[in-house]
């Protein structure tokens, strides 16, 4: 029988309230009849109308989504490999390399990547931004996956090997489903980091490349109008929709129900 203490419920609800209070304001203010995001004046759908006509902003949002999808996918794959390797083998260089991009100030990483790309004569564009994003997202995935693996029951994997599975099969059919919640958590974090990144994106973006954060931060000195609230609200809903669709279309990807559950 699962007893849930009322304490747990209370604090958890408080945490959700904390998370959602600003968001409610963000969404509500997207209907605010004032150019500034500062006080409620009146209701209007104007900002959504303007957004629909604002090709620049929409293109920027599209770019952000595209980069985030690609970067988080790549980072999840590489990060899971890294997390698994760090747990399994005694490595010295990889843990440092994985943690450093998270520690290093973004502005240093941005400037250094720009210098690096220029040195190699790489054309800056969406791809250069995605490459940069993968570099700092790998760490998030790796750390979560390693934490998930820590204390995991190795006997299951060994049993699979004893039954004749190759290491690859053992990983795919036994280990991966068991660490899936960690992988998904890491992927979600990587996606979040990528879609909202400003500093590194600023330096690695090309002359015609605009992502949503770049667009929005450039408005910081004039006014961040409710159009930004509108595009943020829509982007959130779109991302949510994408995930729901992906989960329905490819349930095996999100299966957190391992085939060989210890329960």
């Amino acid at each position: 029988m699962r007893r849930r203490s009322p304490w747990l419920w209370a604090v958890a609800l408080l945490a959700y309230a904390f998370l959602y209070l600003p968001l409610v304001i963000v969404v509500v203010y997207s209907f605010n009849d004032s150019r500034l995001n500062a006080e409620w004046v009146g209701f209007t759908l104007d900002w959504y109308r303007r957004l629909a006509a604002n090709d620049e902003m929409l293109a920027a949002a599209g770019n952000s989504l595209l980069i985030a999808l690609v970067a988080s996918a790549a980072a999840t794959v590489l990060g899971t490999m890294a997390g698994f390797a760090m747990h399994r083998y005694r490595l010295r260089l990889l843990p440092v390399l994985v943690l450093c991009p998270i520690a290093i100030p973004e502005i240093l990483m941005g400037v250094s990547l720009l210098i690096f790309f220029v040195l190699l004569n790489v054309t800056l564009g969406l791809l250069s931004v995605a490459i940069a994003h993968v570099a700092f997202c790998i760490g998030f995935v790796a750390i979560v996956v390693r934490a998930r693996l820590a204390g995991m029951d190795e006997s299951l994997t060994e049993a699979a090997r004893d039954c004749g599975a190759t290491p690859a099969q053992a990983f795919r059919r036994v280990t991966l489903p068991l660490i899936m919640p960690g992988v998904i958590a890491g992927a979600l974090m990587a996606f979040t980091m990528s879609i909202d990144d400003f500093v590194i994106t600023f330096f690695t973006a090309g002359a015609g490349t605009v992502t949503l954060p770049l667009q929005i931060y450039s408005m910081i000195k004039i006014a961040v109008t409710p159009e930004v609230n509108a595009v943020s609200t829509l982007l959130m809903l779109l991302t949510l929709a994408l995930i729901v669709v992906a989960a329905k279309v490819s349930p095996s990807l999100f299966r957190t129900d391992p085939e060989a559950s210890p329960r």
Partner: protein
Amino acid sequence: MNPSRALLAACLLWSLSSAGVASAKDQLHLYNWNNYIAPETVKRFEAQCKCEVVQTYYADNEELLAKLAAGAKGYDVLVPTANAVQALIKGGQLRPLDKALLPNLKNVDPAFLPTAFDPGGQYAAPYAMSTTIIGYNDAKLKELGLPTDTWAVIFEPKYLEKVKGRVTVLDSSAELFAAAFKYLGYSANDIDPKHWDEATLLIKKAKPYWAAFNASSYIKELTVGNIWLVHGYSNDIFQANQDAQAAKRSFHVLQGMPKEGAVLAVDNMVIHRSAPRPDLAHQFINFMLDGRNSAELTNLIGSGNPNLDARRYIQPELTKYPAIFPPSQVQAKLEQLTELTASQRRLRNRLWTEIKAGR
């Protein structure tokens, strides 16, 4: 791997790499401040040159300088402020203007061309300008009986007491030190370390009364009435008043030009040395030097205008603002910021860090 997933991955990668490729159409890459050109102006230029204007934005000269210093390429026209132009010229980042392609240069007020930082006007064409002044909530300041035409109201504790926690200053060491120098009677570009120490002391004494060092969200707070007095840019303060009136507030947000003088920031159009389309760049600059096009920005955001031909297109009410069109006695007290050497910048940053971290 699942073949449909592989296909999806391939599609995403392809769209990523091809999304950056230039289309066959001619493109002008304009790297500018956000909201610093009217949309109608861009459309008119695109129709005239039969090209596409691809705009990317920055929010600060320093960001532009850092990106170019690290080697970024692909931009045609940039719009840096005077001291940033100076840095770019010295750093060899600019392409000289071909005056033969810029007949409209004659429209520029001779007071702004040529300048000390660009002898001969080789690289820069003035675009728009603003001053860094005082912005205030007229109802509140009248109620408290505070002066609005002097920097003293930002720096003197005897005035600051009345508005404690309701004042913000710009989060820029260059601008704040310049304001302090002006108040102390020195030049905004003073490099005497003794004067710098004096200014630091002045700032530290006033700091406990300030709510924040803020260059981004102060205008919002001024408009809603949380902040009553700011050290800010004239364009922003003009916009704040427009927003306050639109929200039907009981007060106005007014510009106060300090009698001791202020910083004038002239933004210039320049061409990057590795501009892919210098021909389009020259066309654009000449286009923007035409009075009608230049005036559209002033009418939009209340920026100052160094273009004489533009006067007849500017809305008459705007010409009355001294912060936008400073009369000659005020002009005499306005100064443009110049670049410092690396060691001077280091010293200034050291003092700035002390100010911000100090107890």
